[in-house]
């Protein structure tokens, strides 16, 4: 992907580049704004002007706390917004194809085909009354013309690639017979069964223990890389982003705060919120932890100032003058007037 200068272009122009030129990001979210409730009685605007680009074979981390809108962004991309939520403005493009306003039929084709999702709870994405192998095979059949036998063999192969021991036997098991780590591996196999261009992993390891978390994340990265797919990894843990993704986007209260190469975002953060998050994940030898005062905002409406202003250690009067734009700065984009 080119530097930030190019990504400031409106999506319409970015999308007009001829396919195959390599400049079209796999995922291009431009000025995405989502609201709950219809216009006159809008209850909240959980996503406000989200910009997010994921290039081919790139791993992007979407970092934020609860209520930051990171999962809702993923839901919007997948066309799975919860009841009552609607896209107010902005566009979402997958390989240059506009997804906002796309038919449910088309979205269904794309989900599990060109884009796939892996949830926090693997048992939620696997049907408990079907065998694990059976449902992976079924997905393969829906999205390709493979036959029953062929799809089953492919499913077993996939499970084996995901490091499940004795895959031919385990494919006939049900998900409740799998341990937590194994179930997440099976969910990954399911997500990758149709060679998606984009894998969205929504907190895939949050319920798992640390040693397992590491194993599963490494597997996800390895599999995505070997398939040349892009990864959008949603996490609350900026340390996970740091060790597994090339680029990082930090969200807060439904806005993008900072976005750029992981090394520079986590190495020399320009948004005070990013620094605060990093400090919260750091260890200090003083029987003290870094604390950000205040509470995490929820159900925000249209903002008139920086969302982090109330909690920011560097807050200045100009932070209250308006919502800071997401502007390009060196190798990244930052929404902070002080940056």
């Amino acid at each position: 992907m080119s530097t930030a200068g190019g990504s400031n272009m409106p999506a319409t122009e970015a999308g007009s580049v001829a396919p195959g030129s390599g400049d079209v990001p796999v995922l291009d979210v431009f000025d995405l704004t989502v609201g709950f409730g219809s216009a006159p009685k809008r209850r909240s605007i959980p996503l406000q002007g989200i910009h997010l680009q994921v290039a081919a074979a790139e791993r992007m981390a979407l970092v934020g706390e609860s209520g930051s809108g990171k999962s809702l962004t993923a839901a919007a991309v997948l066309g799975l917004l919860p009841h009552g939520a609607e896209v107010i403005r902005g566009s979402i493009r997958l390989d240059g194809e506009e997804l906002t306003g796309a038919s449910e039929r088309r979205l269904r084709e794309l989900r599990g085909g060109r884009m796939a999702i892996m949830f926090q709870n693997p048992r939620a994405s696997l049907n408990p009354v079907l065998t694990v192998g059976g449902q992976i095979a079924e997905v393969i059949r829906v999205h390709s013309d493979a036959g029953r036998k062929e799809s089953w063999t492919q499913a077993v192969d996939l499970l084996s690639e995901m490091g499940i021991p004795d895959p031919a036997r385990r494919a006939k098991d049900y998900v409740h017979q799998y341990s937590g780590g194994m179930a997440q591996r099976a969910a990954l196999a399911m997500a990758l069964s149709c060679q998606p261009d984009l894998l969205i992993a929504d907190e895939p390891t949050t319920g798992l223990d640390a040693t397992l978390q590491q194993q599963v994340l490494e597997l996800v990265v390895e599999q995505v890389t070997s398939r040349d797919a892009s990864l959008l990894l949603i996490t609350h843990d900026i340390a996970v982003a740091r060790s597994h993704c090339e680029r990082t986007t930090v969200m807060y209260a439904g806005r993008v705060m900072e976005s750029g190469p992981t090394a520079s975002v986590t190495g020399s953060p320009k948004n005070p919120y990013t620094s605060a998050l990093l400090k919260a994940f750091g260890t200090v030898d003083q029987r003290r932890m870094y604390a950000i005062s205040g509470v995490v905002p929820t159900l925000v409406g249209e903002l008139s100032e920086c969302a982090f202003a109330d909690r920011c250690p560097l807050v200045a009067p100009e932070c209250r003058d308006g919502v800071p734009d997401l502007r390009s700065l060196d190798d990244r984009r930052v929404a902070c007037v002080k940056a």
């Binding site: 609860s66 509470v295 929820t298 159900l299």
Partner: protein
Amino acid sequence: MSVAPPRASGSAAWAGGLRTMAGTRPVRLVVVGATLAILLVALVWDSEWRALRVVVSVLAIALAPAVWDSQRRAIRPAVAVMLALILMALIGPLFTRDPLMLNVGESLTTPGSDLWFGTDQHGRDIFARVIHGARLDLGVGFSAAALAVIVGMPLGALAVLRGGLFDSVLLRISESFQAFPTLLLALGIVAAVGPSIPILIFIIAIVNVPVYLRLTRSAVAPIVNADFVLAARCAGQRQLTILFRHILPNVRQVVLAQFSVNVAWAIQILAALSFVGLGVPVPTPEWGAMVREGYEQLVYGRWWVSVFPGVAILGTVLTLNQLSDRVRHTS
């Protein structure tokens, strides 16, 4: 987690006022409990205590807003209809003719402006009989279901808390009760000791105790080890206090939902028993008995004799089912 604003009190201010008048929580519970008890007694056995009935009615009207206010919006229509039915049962009889008065000259009059529901073959006013019948049917229904809850709910909770042998024995006993077909059991007992309203209430209650026992048991089981129950133990509370303050209030939705269905079901049983002639003694106005008396007239086109009490049964049962449904979905 969202920081919700304090819940806006949507209902009228006087409801709040009355609620404060009713006092703090324990006081309110006593008032409601006493009212309900008097209500039940009045409904079932009182034929003459009109003064008491008026007092009870006034109390019920005074307390209605509190009930109204504490419930969520979705159950209000059903609560309103139910309250109207109860009110009808309570004060309706004051304004109708004598339901027992025979008038052979006026037998089988068609419904009209004077006699709204017409008269039966003995010339008795069907409207008066339907209204009076409400007292008996609702009274038996509510008393039987209430008795079953009062016994079944604590037993079910105790079964979970004690566990082990106590739990097993209780379950086996309740299973043996449930093994009897209710209607046959009721028929048998009534045939043996003769029809009497307290016995009917008792039978219907006994058969329902296992229902509440099992229901409460399954609802309590996931709660007994909940963190807030552990917290109550950390606060040094006695087991019974924890049961009544923390566990049972958290399962009352489920039980309340069952309660409404149960009242409806009790009414149906009473009606069924009366229909086969084993319910209430003959001249007493009771919906099921009235349907039976009228069904012979149906073939002659005199539909009103059994249809009006039938509609009363249907309406009450539907309202109660509706209430049960809504309660279940507001938890």
